[in-house]
């Protein structure tokens, strides 16, 4: 009996147990606002404005979602726009970054260091500062209110970090691998594509997660460079709702869920690459 109790005490005071409890507590507190958004998004207008709050809706409804997805002919287009912008950006950034960082890592060429410095320095430029010259240039190129403008912006903002992260991966792969492939008769490009590229899989995964999320969530440029529903993306769609003088909360909450669910699914599936990628790339010793 005494032994049983002491093992229980030991178990409760173990590091594993305490950390799990802390984590669970944190998760409950941290996800409350999102849960509240979700609960509101399936309520009727009347129930939201009751003088007390119901955490389990009395009369659940999907009407807010029908409105958020099809209410105005343009709403489902926001989602299509977001997918186009975030998807295109991710593909282009991954492609360009995997080639550019390979070059930075493997070839010694004049100005290589300056190039890398320029890449990193451009990362320091605050987006809101970048917004002004970009707005002026985009106006003169007639790019305002187009998806291309948003795609270009997102590529510009994500490429430097992607190059920097992937360079760490390439640096970690011994040069012998390249040399062996070359001896076996591969061209430089074949060596890159067949031997080296498969080895940096986690790095590509991490870059893809980061780029997709940043582009999907980007708001500042999305509201400034787009004027009409032609180039409205979901994050900007939520902004339109939240800054209204009179907010219809269930509809806003449904619109918020519309923006958040794809991003969350993406993160749940790909977050492990992020940690792996950071371990191998950014934090190598």
């Amino acid at each position: 009996m005494v032994e049983k109790k002491s093992s229980l005490v030991k178990w409760v005071s173990s590091k594993e147990f305490i950390s799990t409890v802390i984590l669970l507590l944190w998760i409950v507190v941290a996800l409350l606002p999102i849960v509240f958004i979700f609960v509101t998004s399936i309520k009727t207008d009347e129930e939201v404005y009751l003088p007390y709050i119901t955490w389990i809706p009395e009369k659940p409804t999907i009407e807010p979602y029908i409105y958020a997805l099809f209410g105005e002919s343009s709403f489902y287009k926001y989602i299509v726009n977001s997918i186009i912008v975030a998807g295109t950006t991710t593909v282009i950034v991954v492609t360009l970054a995997s080639i550019a960082s390979y070059a930075f890592s493997r070839f010694k060429f004049k100005g290589g260091k300056i190039g890398m410095f320029a890449v990193l320095a451009s990362r320091l430029l605050p987006p809101v500062s970048l917004l002004i010259p970009w707005f002026i240039v985009a106006s003169s190129l007639q790019l305002i209110d187009t998806l291309q403008a948003l795609i270009l912006t997102n590529i510009y903002m994500n490429l430097p970090f992607a190059i920097w992260l992937l360079k760490g991966f390439y640096d970690a792969i011994p040069r012998d691998f390249d040399d062996a492939a070359l001896v076996d008769g591969c061209s430089t490009f074949q060596a890159f594509r067949k031997i080296i590229l498969p080895l940096i899989g986690p790095g590509i995964g991490a870059v893809a997660v980061l780029t997709f999320l940043f582009s999907w969530n980007e708001l500042l440029f999305a509201i400034t460079l787009s004027m009409t529903s032609v180039s409205r993306v979901v994050s900007a769609g939520v902004y339109d709702f939240v800054t209204d003088a009179f907010i219809e909360w269930p509809k806003l909450c449904a619109a918020a869920m519309r923006a958040v669910i794809p991003a969350m699914i993406f993160v749940i599936f790909f977050q492990k690459y992020l940690v792996k990628g950071l371990v191998a790339g950014a934090l190598k010793r």
């Binding site: 984590l23 409350l32 451009s122 605050p126 500062s129 430097p160 969530n217 909450c253």
Partner: protein, 271 residues
């Protein structure tokens, strides 16, 4: 290489260039006059103080909480399942963060008042976003909420990069768990600490979207941080030239801040 450097740095040059013009529909060269305006703009010191408090507190909170969560995740047997849940807030777009907290802290129908009153902690609902000080705290809170998972990810990656042999040999040498934490874990977390410090502070100081969507800078000007002031000057009052000048100033602040942080962490690492 030159092309790449050009593409990367062109916007900065262009920003600098635009800062010498008065741009309101037409563009007129005005020399340094925008910089003179900047020196006399009494709004700037006030918004800078706000930016400093805002960036400082979110960075400290996120790093501390991120470290705690990363240590817990590293120890927990349920890590595989909990990790995704801990990261989740990071996936939430700014616009939704703003919407969620605006609704959560709504004075009459929000959950915050409801929970606190049910717990008996307060007796009357609080007008969270109508009080200048509380609105500012809500802003810091929601920003930290979004960045803590990011810090946790970086620290978790840092913890996993520490070789297990280090701990084993320390154990053999008779080091207790506190000593192992103090002399192995902490010193080895310097790289992730610097990365987290840099990225979170840089992201916070230039955040426009969150205060813009959450409070619009109000009540009054209570949550108008410097970056938001810049945005308003340029795109609400359409004064792009002066906005560019403020943009140069913000860039300058970010660079100085990053250099100080790099220096600070390096000095620390000697001890």
């Amino acid at each position: 290489m030159i092309v790449l450097a050009g593409v990367c740095l062109y916007p900065a040059f262009r920003l600098f260039f635009d800062s010498f013009f008065h741009i309101k529909g037409t563009s007129v060269f005005v020399g340094l006059s925008n910089y003179v305006t900047l020196l006399h703009d009494e709004f700037i010191p006030r918004s800078l103080i706000r930016s400093a408090i805002y960036t400082g507190s979110t960075t400290c909170i996120s790093i501390l909480m991120g470290l705690i969560l990363a240590l817990c995740l590293n120890e927990s047997p349920l890590r595989r399942y909990l990790q995704a849940a801990v990261v989740l807030p990071w996936a939430v777009p700014y616009a939704v963060v703003a919407a969620a907290f605006k609704w959560f802290f709504n004075d009459t129908h929000g959950a915050a008042n409801d929970i606190l009153m049910r717990l008996g902690l307060i007796h009357a609902p609080i007008g969270w976003l109508f009080d200048e000080k509380i609105a500012f705290l809500v802003l810091i809170f929601s920003d930290a909420w979004m960045r803590i998972p990011f810090a946790a990810m970086i620290f978790l990656a840092g913890l996993q990069a520490i070789p297990a042999e280090l701990y084993e040999s320390a154990k053999v040498d008779g080091a207790g768990s506190y000593e192992r934490f103090r002399y192995i874990t902490l010193p080895n977390l310097k790289a992730p600490l610097l990365l987290a410090l840099l990225m979170i502070s840089i992201f916070s100081i230039r955040t426009v979207s969150l205060p813009l969507a959450l409070t619009g800078g109000g009540p009054g000007e209570a949550t108008t941080v410097f970056a938001l002031y810049l945005y308003k000057v340029a795109f609400w009052f359409m004064n792009l030239g002066y906005g560019a000048t403020l943009g140069v100033f913000l860039l300058f602040i970010v660079v100085v801040m990053s250099l100080i942080e790099i220096k600070f962490v390096k000095v620390e690492s000697l001890t």
